[in-house]
Symmetry: C2
């Protein structure tokens, strides 16, 4: 069918055509269908129906599409339906149980990066990975494809290192502390982090309370070269960009798909140029992984990918049965971080950060790692390094102002122990969900402060203080706490 | 986050909100994400980003959403992210290998009907069905859910009957003929059909060459009550409407998912009130199903659903190794149908139509079925019945005019046998794709006419005549024929 072009100066984020309802009906196509546009070659696009914007027999082209098709308004173009792209064939192949080779995975990932697949097609691919599994070879090839289709960083230092936690633990804001310690003793750490998806707060959300985190690649390079580390948001850097698009689909069901998780994490680290990589796999009741056995099975796969890419990689298995640190929510977690750096913070957060920093330092082959890390922290060198990183990212020495400006939410409520006994369980998921009810991560001043970890408690002692900028949300938080009971006392 | 409402008078087909890019970035959400809108209760909607239409901190509501939220422009509403609906939980459950019970499937299907699921979520559900399978009990419950969430038809006659072919065979336009024969001998057949998805033409496309097929429910009832049958498009009737939405996602990969196929077909028949159902399962090389064994395995499942819904159901297994009839494409197939009804048409199409009509008649317990069906066809009673159906659907006696107006495409090209030998294979898929290259089903006058079926052929004899309204497409068709070689001569 021939349609009249209407170019839109509109960045849809992917090649999208807009059709009038009547045209769509005539062509027997629906929103999210794929069509082919016959220009000099065949272009694929996804259909949106918006009758206000285009007339019958017109086709609106998103900015992305207009640029590649290069035809004037009111010129005609041939459009075909029921089109399966080559990438769709590959997804169908995988869904039917056939393994994909390196070339096929590279093509598929490139098509994801170029936005030529619909969310539904990515969902099919994700399902196929989850239910048919991926061999180690496929996982390694997927990782390689994800690296190849994105930007890469390169640094000069001797020890380009990184750490990563697979997540699921509330609080657990070790990254800013470990990175500061490691950078203080000479490691180079181009650290990129994500924002929260289902938790109270991600590392990027926490850093953002005092620093810009959306830093262009050039600025990351200069920051890392100058101060030895950065604490940036990974989302806009274009490192393994297919990852973001796949995660967007997975999170519709909060799905963790193991081969994809492995490839996502490893492709980001390798793209960032890291040669020494420490992976933290917390396990235990209420963590993403329940048993040590399953944690180790995952760990072995990380090691296999590490070997394939010739990087030094170590997996540590840590206790994931309760939150780490006392504050949960962007500002509350930043306050914990600062306290630890001032040698005045929660012991569990301090100990875990020191442990991770030591392991990463050891991995680089540096001797007396524990002693060096302890010294960096206790002497204040790590804190100084942290200030340097933040000031460099902000482009001015405003660290103290930023810290002074941190203010918790104006409404708060204390939750006390209803009886004397022993706290046996603190659900990470429950605490994270509670914080989201209170408004995190959007409201950076909201969240929860935990006064007691697992152990003895007396009736009437403080368990939690809840913070919110809205009375309604505070009430909803209290209600959620009572219904969900994330803290169990026996 | 609180956003300012902007109501759009725009039917998106589902609850959609439009956000400005900046708002989306701030909320860390993307196109196709789900958000929750807190009105009197919680409403879910899918995100579209269209910065031209809404400002930062505004939220555009599609017409569907505006109607249920009922708030004025410029009033504020609270919006939350990272929301999983209850239906998403059920999909995740199925994806993780747990069986779903009747209530859960009903809830899930209702959510699909209400457009509360994204295409990606439906893709996850489809994948889970395909890869984890569905028990017979789940398939029956899925069918029941699909019936329950749609419109129902009810007719008075003694023999409410229907036939269905699982598809995949080019031509094979038996439905108009069998329906006319059966209605002529007293069966009641509320027949609804689909348009082509990947084939040259669907039954609805063929009927549409001489009759309107988008017929409202009330008109279907009156037509069937008056003349004993209809030949309508099933798409806009609201019978098992979840089906259309699931098929839309499946066709991204041209996926056939067995439990879904079973539930789709059976739910439509049961919703239409049929008590006697004949299912045609063609098998053979180049058909959807290759072997008799696999055809019978599918057939048994149809029978099990039939028993569960207390309908009389029979499965026939037919030869699917080559196209049926001579014409492929809407008008070409209609011409075949008319010729058979005039007792002057392709023998294979006539025989298959008679066979199906006879089987359906037998299923109703009517004696001397074959004789009665033959007599209805040879006497012209079936043809008269067909005219009645078409005239009733068109609302005026214009059958002859409509037939006279059928014209084949203006450009044609004959393809001749390159050597003497035996035609061993005629690929259904190849013929269907060839017709699509020539412009079907949108161009109703395009397609192919086959002069020879499987059997002997002499060099230079006509094999096919290709028809197209465009010289370019005709050339593309010839090129496609040469590359794909859908007819093999040995």
């Amino acid at each position: 069918m021939k349609l009249k072009i209407k170019n839109f100066n509109w960045l849809a984020g992917k090649p999208v055509v807009i059709l009038n309802e009547k045209t769509a009906k005539k062509m027997n196509i629906f929103v999210d269908d794929r069509i082919a546009i016959m220009g000099d070659k065949k272009f694929y696009a996804v259909v949106d129906i918006f009758s206000k914007l285009v007339k019958e027999n017109e086709i609106g082209l998103s900015s992305e599409l207009g640029k590649i098709i290069k035809k004037k308004n009111k010129s005609f173009i041939e459009v075909g339906t029921s089109e399966m792209s080559n990438a769709s064939f590959l997804i169908k192949k995988k869904l039917n149980g056939t393994k994909l080779n390196g070339k096929e995975l590279e093509y598929l990932v490139a098509e994801i990066v170029n936005n030529n697949l619909t969310a539904a097609e990515i969902a099919f691919f994700t399902s196929a990975q989850k239910l048919n599994g991926m061999t180690m070879k496929e996982t390694i090839n997927l990782t390689r494809a994800m690296v190849k289709t994105g930007a890469k960083l390169k640094f000069e230092g001797k020890y380009i290192a990184d750490k990563h936690c697979i997540g699921g633990i509330a609080g657990n804001r070790t990254t800013p502390i470990s990175v500061a310690i490691c950078a203080a003793i000479g490691l180079t750490i181009p650290k990129t982090s994500s924002r929260a998806i289902t938790s109270a707060s991600g590392t990027a959300d926490v850093i953002e309370t005092i620093s810009s985190v959306e830093i262009p690649l050039a600025k990351i390079k200069s920051t890392v070269n100058k101060v030895g580390a950065c604490l940036a948001w990974g989302g806009s850097l274009g490192l393994a960009p297919s990852d973001d698009k796949i995660i967007q689909v997975e999170r519709l069901l909060n799905l963790d798909v193991e081969p994809q998780l492995l490839a996502s994490i490893m492709s980001k680290k390798i793209s960032a140029g890291s040669k020494y990589i420490l992976i933290d796999v917390p396990y235990g009741r209420g963590a993403k992984i329940a048993t040590k056995k399953r944690a180790e099975s995952l760990g072995k796969k990380f090691e296999a990918i590490g070997r394939a890419f010739k990087v030094k990689l170590k997996v540590v298995y840590t206790n994931g049965s309760q939150p780490v640190g006392n504050g949960y929510g962007p500002i509350l977690e930043m306050l914990d971080v600062i306290k630890v750096l001032e040698n005045n913070g929660p012991e569990d957060l301090k100990e875990k950060s020191l442990f991770l920093a030591t392991e990463l330092t050891k991995l680089c082959g540096i001797k007396n790692a524990r002693k060096k890390c302890e010294e960096a922290l206790s002497s204040g060198k790590a804190y100084d390094k942290f200030k340097e990183i933040i000031n460099s990212q902000n482009g001015k020495k405003n660290f103290n102002e930023k810290i002074d400006a941190l203010k918790l939410a104006k409404y708060k409520q204390i939750i006390r122990a209803p009886k004397t006994g022993k706290i046996t369980i603190i659900s990470n998921k429950g605490i994270n969900n509670l914080c989201r009810v209170l408004g995190t991560p959007e409201t950076i001043s909201a969240g929860a402060y935990m006064h007691k970890h697992i152990g003895k408690v007396k009736k009437g002692e403080k368990l939690l203080t809840l913070y919110s900028e809205s009375k309604t949300k505070l009430r909803a938080g209290v209600k959620f706490y009572k219904e969900f009971k994330p803290i169990e006392i026996k």
